[in-house]
């Protein structure tokens, strides 16, 4: 029976049958791991998600966060015990190196665990996620003193962390920020300014909070090139590690939001009384470059948020559709005695569910593969391999973030459709998925900004090699699938989409060099979606090719030599049912979605600029 959150079978398929991450366990840095250990960790993650985190989901949403009379933010009460258990389990720093108190877990393995946590309650997960990310910045760029003072206590969950970029006048355009840093005689800085929308900006889960803050040192140039990054504790820390005076970081307010209400989104006022002290992290004016380490990780985590919600929404919808009895089936139209059936029997519901399944499995594959690419970059033996896998991760980051979140919004919306009127009501959990997932399209750089990052930076990166390497992967899938009898025609559909997409990409490359660069900019978002669709087609077909082989093996082992016997096995053998589903989802996506790719590419190539040409007055 489903745990209602994530299909563990599909996770295991991706990790061990499709990407074969167990190959990572052969050598450093992952030689302490084995498949058994990986499975055990995934099973503990499931327990943690279902028994500890999930019970906070609706309660955290209803209670929300508030600023109390003393100026302290209170998070939902039920988060406290869950946070303690989560940290005790070692999950906060799971992917960090054992030398700094982490578990050294492969990112791909952790990603499977974090899908569970995100599906159970992403608002809760943000407190630990930001803490781990902020501590990692100190690990990478901090002095030994900073590490001893802050990092270890953050990785253990004793203290929290945030990321402070956004200001009222500096959202997408971080370079416009106004927060300033004034040199003090002892080498530290006085920080003054207001940051808004700061997740976990204040909370009562930990005794101190360490803020990495972007600010401009007085006299430094405008724009991103003049930004530095500072470590600013909520409460100052004495040299002996004890807590000292409050550091003049005040909470202006806590936002009232559409979703992730359990996550405190705060306005923070630094240095209102002129007493907020920060320490420079890394070198002066390298703030953006340093912060990007955290942002890139956070973008992948947002992709996982999207996946988790989509997955949970789908699992719920399937379960509901099997139980809800409504309407007689269409083929019994003329039978007055016909009985109403579970709605999963209705073709329209069925297609929605299959679309959701294909999408969930597709974005799961995209996100897991990006994580696996990060592992492979560490594991690689040659500089070429390292560059190749790092290139995959860099290229895919905006797609993981933006495509996953856009699609997850549609999946959660469809889940509500399946529930009918009940889906719209709070008594059922799916409406919260839709509210909670929408933010994934916005923070960590809006999806519009992600698309610009893809088109403007990522395509050309590494002289275009990253895209070419990815194209080669897709080509391989097409070739392999063409050799499988039942998949040939679907491989042809992927091939057609792939050719059109590659052609569009080349067009973009040449337009980028000419005066028509507005075409790629105008069409960055549709381009990102096309890229996502091609990748989903690629990963699903790759999976289907493996699944089809496994099916043949099972049929042979069980002597199922007729279509009838094979069909019967679907009902008896859960493995057969799983693999059949894997193949069906791939075929469905190839048949329904991929044929639209070519047309959409053609549209962009026509070079229409209507939205820009039309005057603002005409809107």
């Amino acid at each position: 029976m489903s745990n209602g959150l994530v299909n563990t079978r599909d996770q295991q398929f991706l990790l061990f049958e499709q990407f074969k991450i167990d190959g990572l366990f052969e050598r450093e840095p992952y030689s302490d791991f084995s498949k058994d250990i990986a499975l055990m960790m995934m099973s503990e993650a499931e327990k943690m998600a279902v028994n500890v985190i999930l019970p906070t989901y609706a309660e955290g949403d209803r209670e929300g966060c508030h600023l109390d009379k003393t100026g302290q933010v209170r998070v939902p009460k039920c988060f406290h015990d869950a946070f303690k258990k989560f940290c005790e389990g070692g999950w906060l720093a799971a992917v960090r190196s054992p030398e700094v108190g982490g578990q050294g877990m492969p990112v791909s393995l952790y990603t499977a665990c974090s899908e569970f946590f995100g599906a159970a309650n992403f608002a809760f997960l943000m407190y630990s996620g930001l803490t781990s990310g902020a501590a990692h910045l100190i690990e990478l760029y901090g002095t030994e003193e900073m590490k001893n003072k802050y990092m270890y206590r953050m990785y253990s969950g004793e203290w929290g962390g945030t990321m402070c970029l956004t200001e009222p006048g500096a959202g997408s355009d971080v370079g416009a920020l106004k927060t300033t840093a004034k040199r003090l005689p002892d080498g530290k800085f006085l920080i003054t300014g207001t940051k808004c929308f700061i997740s976990s900006g204040d909370q009562d889960l930990t005794t101190n909070i360490i803020h990495p803050v972007l600010a401009r040192i007085e006299g430094d140039p405008p724009g991103t090139a003049g930004i530095s990054i500072f470590i600013v504790p909520k409460i100052r820390v004495n040299d002996d590690g004890t807590l000292g005076e409050p550091n003049d970081v005040k909470v202006g307010n806590v936002e009232h939001k559409m979703g992730i209400k359990g996550s405190a989104t705060c306005t923070l006022i630094f240095g209102e009384d002129g007493k907020c002290v920060g320490e420079l992290l890394g070198k002066e004016r390298e703030g953006m470059r340093i912060m990007f380490n955290m942002m890139n990780e956070a973008r992948l985590e947002v992709g996982m948020q999207a996946l988790g919600h989509a997955s949970a929404a789908y699992e719920h919808a399937v379960q509901y559709a099997k139980e809800r009895i409504q309407s007689t089936p269409v083929w019994e139209m003329k039978n007055p005695d016909a009985k109403a059936v579970p709605i999963i029997m209705h073709p329209d519901v069925r297609r929605d569910l299959l679309w959701m399944k294909a999408m969930v499995e597709g974005i799961r594959a995209i996100n897991f593969f990006a994580a696996y690419a990060l592992d492979m970059a560490k594991f690689a033996q040659t500089p070429e391999d390292r560059a190749k896998y790092l290139g995959f991760a860099e290229l895919m980051t905006p797609i993981c973030k933006a495509y996953s979140s856009d699609m997850a919004c549609l999946v959660t919306s469809k889940a509500i459709d399946v529930y009918g009127g009940y889906g719209y009501c709070q008594e059922y959990p799916v409406e919260q998925y839709m509210r909670d997932v929408k933010i994934a399209c916005i923070y960590e750089g809006t999806n519009g900004i992600q698309a610009l990052d893809l088109v403007g930076r990522k395509l050309g990166q590494n002289q275009g090699k990253n895209v070419m390497n990815m194209a080669a992967e897709v080509q391989n899938t097409i070739n392999r699938a063409k050799a499988v009898a039942g998949l040939k025609q679907y491989a042809a559909k992927l091939e057609e989409a792939y050719f059109a997409f590659v052609d569009l990409t080349m067009t973009f490359a040449s337009l980028g060099k000419s005066s028509s660069f507005l075409i790629p900019i105008l069409n960055a978002s549709p381009y990102l979606e096309l890229f996502g669709d091609v990748l989903v087609g690629h990963f699903l077909l790759w999976g289907a090719e493996i699944a089809q082989k496994r099916l043949e093996e099972i049929f042979e082992a069980k002597g199922a030599d007729t279509i009838g016997k094979r069909r019967a096995l679907v009902h008896e053998d859960p493995e057969v049912a799983y693999y059949e589903g894997k193949v069906a989802a791939a075929k469905f996506f190839a048949a329904e979605v991929l044929p639209t790719v070519k047309a959409r590419c053609e549209v962009i190539k026509q070079g229409e600029k209507i939205p820009i040409e039309m005057a603002i007055e005409s809107f």
Binding site: M1, N3, D32, S34, D36, I37, L39, M40, M41, E44, K47, M48, V52, K85, E88, G89, G90, W91, A94, Q103, M105, E572, D573, P574, E575
Partner: protein, 257 residues
């Protein structure tokens, strides 16, 4: 203190059990296997005692190769070492044969207290702990919801209908654990990494000098009969009308009042 906790691997409570076509057992494909939930209380209590008094926790399980996962889970929770009794003669063993194998494995070990779950959620027999105590010739307290140990004696609380016993016994003894005794911890990531380096002995029935023969025999597995559909009472939409209808059905159809 030397503490022993017996664990059994069972199908997850959520698993949908299908009886094999020939009635010889259940279909194992697709089942998720977990530690018997009552055994988790035993393991947790064992770990707490160790944390208080020092010493070692040894995990023992009778089961096929896959049962190793369950032993590793207990080791990941914090136990020191494990013994797996894996012998085809003991697959589908009854409570007596299981307890006999456990007793034989335990006899050679130093122990101050032995934990079992009050019953296993698959066969629900609730006998392994009691038989084990008898075979070892030591006292037993079953269905324990609270345990106090002072090194030499144990004071255990055991609920009975509408009341509870508080039972004092000397050590060593067998305690069978039930819900309420504690809140089992989750295996931590560092715990999982350490667990793989902890020793687990794998033994056959012959190594322990037992035959593995069961005293009872399972003749056939049959699924429970499908439940007849429920009935919604809506004859008359007032509470009084519904209550009257319910009373009538309980008397005339169900014949329970």
């Amino acid at each position: 203190m030397n503490i022993i906790a017996c664990v059994k691997q069972v199908p997850d409570t959520e698993a949908q059990i299908k009886v094999k076509g020939d009635g010889s057992g259940i279909e194992e494909g697709g089942i998720k296997w977990v530690m018997n939930p009552y055994d988790e209380f035993g393991v947790e209590e064992a770990l707490k005692l160790k944390e208080k008094f020092g010493g070692e926790v040894t995990i023992i399980s009778v089961g096929p190769a896959r049962a190793m996962e369950t032993i590793r889970t207990a080791l990941a929770m914090g136990a020191e070492k494990g013994i797996q009794i894996d012998d085809p003669a003991l697959y589908n063993a009854d409570a007596y044969a299981t307890a006999e194998a456990l007793a034989a494995a335990i006899k050679g070990l130093p122990y101050d207290i032995i934990f079992c779950g009050q019953r296993a959620i698959d066969d629900d027999s609730a006998q392994v702990g009691p038989i084990l105590a008898e075979l070892l010739g030591i006292p037993q307290v079953t269905f324990v919801t609270k345990l106090e140990i002072d090194g030499k004696t144990a004071k255990a609380t055991r609920p009975i209908e509408g009341a509870q016993y508080v039972i004092e016994t000397s050590l060593p003894c067998v305690v069978t654990a039930t819900k309420g005794l504690n809140e089992p911890r989750y295996a931590s990531l560092p715990g999982i990494m350490k667990a793989k380096k902890k020793p687990v002995d794998i033994k056959k029935a012959a190594d322990l000098g037992v035959s593995g023969a069961s005293k009872s025999k399972v003749v056939k597995f049959t699924p429970p009969p499908a439940r007849p559909p429920g009935k919604i009472i809506c004859a008359d939409d007032t509470p009084e009308g519904k209550a009257a209808e319910l009373a009538k059905l309980l008397r005339e159809e169900a014949k329970v009042i």
